[in-house]
């Protein structure tokens, strides 16, 4: 029911988008059907959460401006910047030519001089054309200049696997950027995350890579009055325990949090109590929360859409092995995207990204309710 509502909002907003077609292919199962909340809470889509966060921060600080492709007159390729051009004018909502290296570097240069640019990538895939400025010009400058040049900039846009758009448009950059000192890397799941983390990112004095997910944009989540307050923000570097549990820890970020919550619901029916950690911040990584949870459950499943090798899951495994090795009662299970460029065909594409049932199986293996992979091989 809810998932249907979410989908309608998404399609309605996207009728004009060139990318709208892609969304018709999203399997309905991707929307979590399990959500418990009080009827007194308001609902808000992730898109509106991001939009209001941008709006409020631009309103609060005239040094904040938005630049990128189609952010102005088109109202954003994904309508995240809807209404901002009318409100703040073309001097602060800047439509750029299609020159990622150029306009990202311009944003970084403006940040050197104390402005607070928000650079939107139409999708994070395009940030690869600007990665030199994200890493070399933004992330390293405070260090190279011995603290003389701080770079308060946000790089944001949809990240991760989309649907039916092939290999070049479907990739998760969390591990890429999270491996680089000097950057902070955030990835929201819910509307609360989106509002709180984006506001924190804009106010932060350092460069922040803000990884959204286009499939979540149209999803609605309950939001409290606190979340709707313009002063709301979420501390960078703290994970959130989305669902408490005692038998197995599942770590995830972005869309995979929803999948993990669905998996936890299924596992509960089998008597397995799963704790789901929404990482929120990929760098800095909240190792303390992850390790505390693993010390309690003694089992760990990591979930991400990105590639497995040197991924976010790999880093979490390392952290747990280093800090909580003696607490582990089972091998760590790592769920990641397949180690292949994203295929186009819908059946192959589905195989290439983690599904709810993959998480369920992994959790059961960790709890010795299924034969472990190593024993089966």
């Amino acid at each position: 029911m809810l998932s249907f509502a979410g989908r309608k909002v998404l399609c309605g907003k996207f009728s004009a988008s060139v990318l709208g077609k892609a969304f018709e292919r999203i399997p309905r199962a991707t929307y979590p059907s399990t959500r418990n909340y009080s009827s007194s809470l308001k609902e808000m889509t992730v898109r509106d959460a991001l939009n209001t966060a941008l709006d409020e921060e631009m309103s609060a600080d005239p040094k904040v401006f938005l630049m990128g492709e189609e952010v102005g007159e088109y109202q954003g390729a994904y309508k995240i910047s809807k209404g901002l051009l009318d409100k703040y004018g073309p001097e602060r909502v800047i439509d750029t030519p299609i020159t990622e290296a150029g306009f990202t570097g311009i944003g970084v240069g403006a940040a050197y001089y104390g402005l607070r640019p928000i650079v939107e990538f139409m999708t994070f895939n395009f940030s690869m054309q600007a990665i030199d400025h994200i890493i070399n010009s933004a992330a390293k400058s405070n260090y190279m200049s011995a603290g003389q040049i701080s770079v308060p900039i946000v790089f944001r846009g949809p990240n991760g696997a989309a649907a039916g758009v092939g290999a070049q448009h479907s990739q998760c950059y969390a591990a890429w950027y999270a491996s680089c000192p000097g950057l902070k890397v955030l990835s929201p799941y819910s509307s609360e995350d989106a509002r709180g983390l984006l506001k924190a990112a804009i106010r932060d004095p350092d460069p922040v890579v803000f990884l959204e997910n286009e499939i979540l944009y149209g999803e609605s989540f309950p939001v409290s009055a606190e979340v709707l307050d313009s002063s709301f923000s979420i501390p960078i570097g703290k994970a959130k325990i989305e669902r408490g549990g005692k038998d197995v820890t599942i770590t995830a970020f972005s869309k995979m949090v929803g999948y993990s919550l669905q998996a936890a619901e299924i596992l509960a029916k089998d008597g397995i109590s799963a704790e789901v950690i929404n990482l929120r911040s990929i760098r800095p990584l909240d190792r303390a929360t992850i390790n505390a949870s693993v010390r309690k459950t003694n089992r760990l499943v990591t979930v991400e859409e990105g590639f497995p090798q040197h991924g976010v899951g790999a880093e979490i495994c390392a952290s747990v092995v280093e800090e909580s090795f003696e607490y582990l009662d089972a091998p760590v299970e790592r769920i990641a995207g397949a180690d292949v460029p994203m295929p186009y065909a819908p059946n192959l594409e589905r195989l290439a990204v983690p599904q709810v049932e993959d998480i369920v199986r992994a959790a059961k293996r960790a709890c010795y309710r299924l034969v472990p992979k190593s024993a089966a091989a």
């Binding site: 030519p97 150029g102 311009i106 240069g109 403006a110 011995a146 004095p205 350092d206």
Partner: protein, 426 residues
């Protein structure tokens, strides 16, 4: 100067030898085409074809904006200005010569790119700027830093990797920064500094138009001929013109990108001509003559300050040393080197100021002595300065060190008392 004009201010003796030297058919379009396609508003121009039938670059002297004769403008410099220019150029030269010595003695390390021969460009532009104006440089940045006013001892100490360096030893030869002097790098990749410079210029415009601050700061982006084949150069010409940003793009065309001759690397070697297609004036100037550079710089900087937008200036120059101190420099023809040595910008200025009785020989000698002492002092300072302490390793990664995350005790790692003592695990 109309926004589509193009100017050429070149030495009286042709640099045509560069063209003659190469026998490949690629490097120069027929002179007639150059004239026709440049869209230039020439007041006077000449062209010729060499004996080998190889076309010569269009040469035109005595052309500046507003139909002003360059000669008359040059005579207008004061003794004080002449001394300032001379001192800055001698400082640049002596400093770099000292760097070579120190490099070979193992006092500095890695890639060290020296600026010898190109001093007229740095001095000609940067000495005109205010303290608030911004300079963005490349890996060949020591002399830009010196011209902008960063003390020689701070630059030398940075090169020595000492805590007293302008970036406390965290930047190094290719990454000079000084917030105080508005020198914001030091970009080691080709083309990388141009968008950042364009962003600095964007911030000036934003401050003026959105924040309503009184801001007419100008940014100068320095880069080389090799960069002009890089996409970021064109991306930024486009956006700087589109948004009328207060920036001057200064190409230090020293004819060589490491071992790649400019004429082998680019379809049309006249870089200044790449401005007008974007609506940006393109100016070609003799980069071995500081007074000519300064004249062009005055116009370009004033144009940016007025809010009339960017200018592209190609300075024809030459580096007297290899690409870096690790470059054996085997590809450049000795004749070519000799020809440019004979146009040493410091000797040229010296000759000019003495002939015009602007300063006396003894005044110049006094400057030479002063700079010698200054550079010696810089070396002594750098050599006797302490290396960065261990605690410095983790500092400055983030402006907000909470970026290091939360430790096992649930507190931010940066709050650990051992954090900057080098004992905390990160």
């Amino acid at each position: 100067m109309s926004s589509f004009s193009a100017l050429k201010i070149l030495p009286s003796h042709p640099i045509a030898g560069e063209y003659r030297r190469h026998s490949t058919p690629f490097h120069a379009a027929p002179a007639s085409r150059l004239l026709r396609s440049s869209g230039a508003n020439y007041l006077s121009s000449t062209s010729s074809v060499t004996a080998a039938g190889r076309p010569v670059r269009v040469l035109s002297a005595n052309v500046v904006s507003n139909e002003k004769q360059i000669g008359s403008a040059l005579a207008a410099i004061t003794s004080k200005e002449a001394l300032d220019l001379y001192e800055d150029m001698v400082l640049g030269r002596s400093f770099e010569d000292m760097c070579a010595q120190m490099y070979y003695r193992g006092k500095m390390f890695g890639f060290v790119h020296l600026y010898n021969g190109q001093e007229a460009v740095s001095t000609g532009f940067i000495r005109l700027l205010t303290a608030r104006d911004t300079v963005v440089s490349t890996y060949r940045d020591h002399v830009h830093a010196l011209s902008k006013g960063v003390p020689a001892r701070a630059v030398m100490a940075e090169l020595f990797g000492k805590a007293t360096g302008c970036c406390r030893g965290q930047g190094g030869s290719m990454h000079m920064f000084s917030r105080e002097h508005n020198l914001i790098g030091g970009f080691a990749f080709i083309g990388e500094g141009i968008p950042v410079a364009t962003g600095a210029a964007f911030s000036s415009k934003y401050r003026r138009e959105v924040l309503k601050e009184n801001c007419d700061d100008v940014t100068i982006a320095f880069f080389g001929d090799g960069t002009c084949n890089n996409g970021q150069f064109f991306e930024c010409l486009n956006m700087a013109a589109l948004w009328k940003l207060p920036i001057v793009f200064v190409v230090e065309n020293n004819l060589w990108a490491i071992g790649m001759s400019h004429f082998r690397a680019t379809s049309d070697p006249e870089i200044w001509k790449k401005g007008p297609p974007f609506g940006i004036p393109g100016v070609h100037v003799d980069g071995m003559d500081v007074l000519k550079v300064r004249e062009v710089a005055k116009d370009a900087v004033a144009r940016a300050r007025r809010g009339d937008g960017p200018t592209l200036v190609e300075c024809e120059t030459y580096r007297f040393r290899g690409h870096s101190l690790a470059d054996p420099d085997e590809l450049r023809n000795p004749d070519e080197k000799a020809r440019y040595s004979s146009r040493d910008p410091i000797a040229t200025l010296k000759k000019y100021v003495l002939e015009h009785n602007l300063v006396s020989e003894s005044e110049l000698k006094a400057i030479d002595k002063k700079i010698d002492e200054l550079v010696e002092e810089a070396v002594e300072f750098a050599d006797s300065s302490p290396a960065p302490p261990r605690s410095q390793l983790l500092e400055n990664v983030f402006a907000d060190p909470k970026g290091f995350g939360i430790g096992p005790d649930g507190k931010y790692r940066c709050e650990d008392p051992g954090f900057t003592q080098g004992t905390a695990q990160v």
